[in-house]
């Protein structure tokens, strides 16, 4: 019963929470208007330029590079290794395995061995740097610990406590084909898989949404075409308060009198 829930219901449930959560967040951000042009300058003037800048931001974090080299190195290493590991995992869900997934197999394997290192560095940084310790909350440590345990369990699974891969792949394929079967009983595989499910559920509620949020950030996705008029969608007319001593009406009167030569 428990096995049925953990390996047959939970994967679909957590993936649904992840996807719906992502879409819900995107919907909330998307429906909220951007009233002012607040792009970080110097900004590209064209849409293509903006796209390139966003891709650069997402892949190698130039803003971070400018500010904090250690944080950049650890963050960049983690993200690039994560990409490799994720892409390598495609082999458990695809049949036949595409050539390029085969191609990054070795690279992805070593990436998996290395990925706990930047995570541990980032974790240590949170504890060592008093400024970062001050701003850290439980969620920050939880995300790092969760990722650390996922990567460590994955590495151990591949090196020391090996499972029967053919059956794991059969399970992966059964999930993709919506005909799930219960995988072979293996404690470490179960743990690894379960932690990933926890990550899926936690993801849309947490700061990990920075992955999708970057592309909605008005300071990064606006154009720097300042010669074009920018219209605020919820703009409203403003009026002066009668309490003011020099309201516009009085000024208009003065101006009219000066013009007609009645004054001075």
């Amino acid at each position: 019963m428990a096995e049925k829930f953990l390996f047959i219901v939970l994967p679909y449930l957590s993936t649904a929470i992840l996807l719906v959560g992502f879409l819900y967040r995107f919907w909330v951000w998307g429906r909220t208007p951007v009233p002012l042009r607040i792009v970080t300058t110097p900004a590209p003037a064209t849409r293509v330029g903006v796209l390139w800048r966003l891709i650069g931001d997402a892949l190698w974090f130039p803003s971070l590079f400018k500010g904090d080299k250690f944080l950049w190195a650890a963050g960049f290493a983690f993200h690039i290794l994560l990409w490799l590991v994720l892409l390598r995992h495609l082999r458990y869900f695809l049949y036949p395995i595409p050539g390029w997934v085969e191609g990054i197999q070795t690279l992805g394997l070593y990436a998996g061995y290395l990925i706990p290192i930047p995570l541990a560095l980032l974790f240590a940084r949170r504890l060592v740097d008093e400024k970062v310790l001050y701003i850290s909350i439980m969620g920050d440590f939880f995300s790092l610990l969760l990722l650390l345990s996922i990567t460590l369990s994955g590495t151990l699974l591949g090196v020391f406590f090996r499972t029967y891969l053919v059956e794991v792949k059969a399970y992966g394929l059964s999930l993709i084909r919506f005909q799930p079967v219960i995988p072979p009983s293996h404690w470490l595989f179960g743990l690894h898989f379960l932690l990933v499910m926890v990550l899926f559920i936690y993801f849309p509620f947490s700061k990990l949404m920075h992955s999708g949020g970057l592309f909605w950030s008005p300071t990064r996705n606006q154009r720097g075409n300042f010669e074009r008029r920018f219209v605020n969608p919820w703009d409203f007319p403003v009026a002066y308060n009668p309490q003011n001593l020099w309201p516009p009406e009085k000024y208009h009167q003065e101006l009219a009198q000066t013009k007609e030569g009645k004054k001075e």
Binding site: W29, P33, T40, D68, L71, K131, V132, Y134, K207, V238
Partner: protein
């Protein structure tokens, strides 16, 4: 050679006592804000907060996606100067985020402590009033943030929320009220502005023998000059410079007694006043039927 600035170690509460003077009733009335802190200030602030979150994608997104990496922590001059940890941009934004989480997110509603959520209280309000007025909205932090999180947006939102409950500083509200009364931040009344211009004309004739005009409220001029008002008051050499430049270029120009200040303190208060102060330039330009506006500051 570039010498890196020393990064101060954090000193909790270092600039807690440095607070702005509170606003006065006479100014708040003129700028269409509650004349004093509302009795139901919590509700008023939460109402405004919900409105702000629905009107500014920046605020909502920045609340949601900050990963607290600390890249901005040592980039704020207020932190570098004071060492107060609440002056780190991320910590400043956290003052807003705490309240956001408590009232507007699922995690904060059901398990506030783990999510560092906190309800509005007198002490939170004191922190808001202190630290959101220790931000100059320079946006330096946004340059270093990997997601472009702009603390100025959050500061502006927090000030707007506070202003809606009748909480603001004297420095800002007094200046904005002055703009609506006199047309400029310094409070120079139209007769004084005209007199200053006449004085400059005479002065220029006496000292340099130049016969230049400093036109005021001249309908049909080509250019409306909106200088910083101090140019007609203390930095008069700059004002003389404008006149010489316009003369040399052969452009007819004028200043306006309705709008003779380019600086906009509405930026430090709320959107309505920001817009009203800026709109004034447009109104003056239409009234004087000019073709162009030259806008200083």
């Amino acid at each position: 050679m570039k010498v890196p600035l020393p990064i101060p170690s954090i000193r909790i509460g270092a600039s807690q006592q440095q607070r702005c003077h509170p606003c006065k009733e006479k100014d708040m009335v003129k700028i269409d804000l509650p004349k004093e802190r509302a009795k139901d200030w919590k509700e008023a602030m939460l109402r405004k907060m919900a409105e702000v979150l629905d009107k500014y994608r920046s605020v909502r997104l920045f609340m949601d996606i900050c990963v607290k990496c600390g890249a901005c922590a040592d980039k704020c001059q207020f932190f570098l100067g004071t060492g107060d940890p609440k002056n780190m941009p991320v910590a400043r934004a956290d003052l807003f985020r705490k309240v956001y989480k408590r009232y507007f997110t699922l995690g904060g509603k059901i398990w506030g402590r783990a999510n560092e959520a906190e309800g509005l209280s007198e002490s939170i309000l004191q922190d808001w009033y202190t630290y959101f007025y220790q931000c100059s909205e320079c946006r330096r932090c946004s340059v270093f943030c990997p997601y472009g999180i702009d603390t100025a947006e959050i500061t502006m939102a927090a000030r707007e929320v506070m202003a809606a409950a009748g909480i603001a500083t004297k420095y800002v509200t007094e200046v904005v009220a002055k703009v609506y009364d006199t047309g400029n931040n310094l409070g120079i009344w139209p007769p004084a502005w005209k007199d200053n211009c006449a004085f400059l004309e005479e002065d220029l004739k006496d000292t340099e023998g130049l016969d230049l005009k400093f036109p005021v409220d001249q309908v049909g001029a080509e250019v409306l000059l909106v200088p910083p008002s101090a140019d007609n008051f203390v930095n008069t050499n700059t004002m003389i410079g404008y006149a010489k430049m316009f003369h040399a270029a052969g452009i007819s120009w004028t200043t306006s007694t309705y709008c003779n200040e380019g600086g906009n303190f509405g930026l430090f208060l709320d959107y309505a006043n920001l817009k009203k102060v800026n709109n004034r330039v447009l109104e003056a330009a239409r009234d004087l039927k000019v073709k162009k506006v030259y806008w200083g500051e």
